[in-house]
Subunit: 198 residues, 2 copies
Amino acid sequence: MSIAHYFNGYHDIRIPAGQPVLHQGDECLNYFLLTAGSVRLFTRSARGREVTLYHVRPDSICVLTTSCLLGGRRFPAEAVADTDLRVRMMPKARFDDLMETAPSFRDAVFQSLAQRMDSLIQTIEKLALEPIDVRIAKYLLSFDTALIQTTHQLVASEVGTAREVVSRHLKQLADKGMIQPERGAIRILDPDALAKLT
Amino acid sequence: MSIAHYFNGYHDIRIPAGQPVLHQGDECLNYFLLTAGSVRLFTRSARGREVTLYHVRPDSICVLTTSCLLGGRRFPAEAVADTDLRVRMMPKARFDDLMETAPSFRDAVFQSLAQRMDSLIQTIEKLALEPIDVRIAKYLLSFDTALIQTTHQLVASEVGTAREVVSRHLKQLADKGMIQPERGAIRILDPDALAKLT
DNA sequence: ATCCCTCGGTGACTTAGTTACAGACCGGCA
DNA sequence: TGCCGGTCTGTAACTAAGTCACCGAGGGAT
């Protein structure tokens, strides 16, 4: 189901962590495949608050780019490299050709669109219906490591709230001994208790 | 770009207003085309609160069904008829065949996926970043009529909040003379003032 | 007329978001 | 080594939104 081999012959481009990849309103002229790293897609409000829409990870294509290419629209979000990236780019003409002629390519693109649709819907449900502490707990548990390298600001963006709110909730979790706050990181002490929150 | 003609030969099925069309977890075995009416797609929380994801209107296909069919997953939301419906159903096998052999059908499906993706992203932005009164005002202005047949409960579901919150905000708008609340309806008195809120 | 059900209103309280700071930590550099 | 500027975190005070519990108004059915 992977479409990586369709990108054989295209060279990796390297983008360092923290670098913007695409801006809201950009035109999409290329189709991207991420071969290493992680990209965060998010939108920003006028007052500077951010919501993360999703992350693109290796071998998963960027759905927003797809939607852009297909619909001929502008890119609807900000994209920033979470980590150092390796990216391959395919020109739109080649993308269109593959969509036309390569059923397995087309299927893979459809699959990822469908999957991303689901994930966006889940995001909407969470934002509208879940209390913040549950969202934070789930997010923390979504890592498989005990020490999570992140900041309150990033967590806030992931769960769709303000940094101060995250700080408060993390403090409460720390007071109950479930986590251990560190600078630039959060250590999970009691994942079972966290899971019970959700 | 319309795909209606691919549904020639399929008969209309009628569904009365208020009737559920699909439930969360249902299997999708058919592809739908709405020829008349409007369907509301939403999810419900454990405590009974609802968020509307989007509406399907005539000649626009149901994207969630698409995503269901393509991904072989269960239907991720509740679907209820807003109004009396006329619907045509196409079996999955025929859908798959058209996707394979009819480029214009395929393009239309892609287009609607891409478009819906955009609208879901906008919904996320609104939920996370816009204050309630702005969301309500925008929603009211999205009708082109002055008299909107709706309930506070429905408005709440559209803007992703609780009924009581809507009632309170509507009262404030009424106190300022922008709207006139009626039972089962809202009359817009001063659209310009409403627009200034947004 | 009465019953029932939906719809809307409201008070009291909890949770979340904003504003406006201050202090802690860290790396670079004099 | 100590200072400086940046990022990251803590927190108080306030506003906005969400929840809970309840009541009353309207309108259709019998």
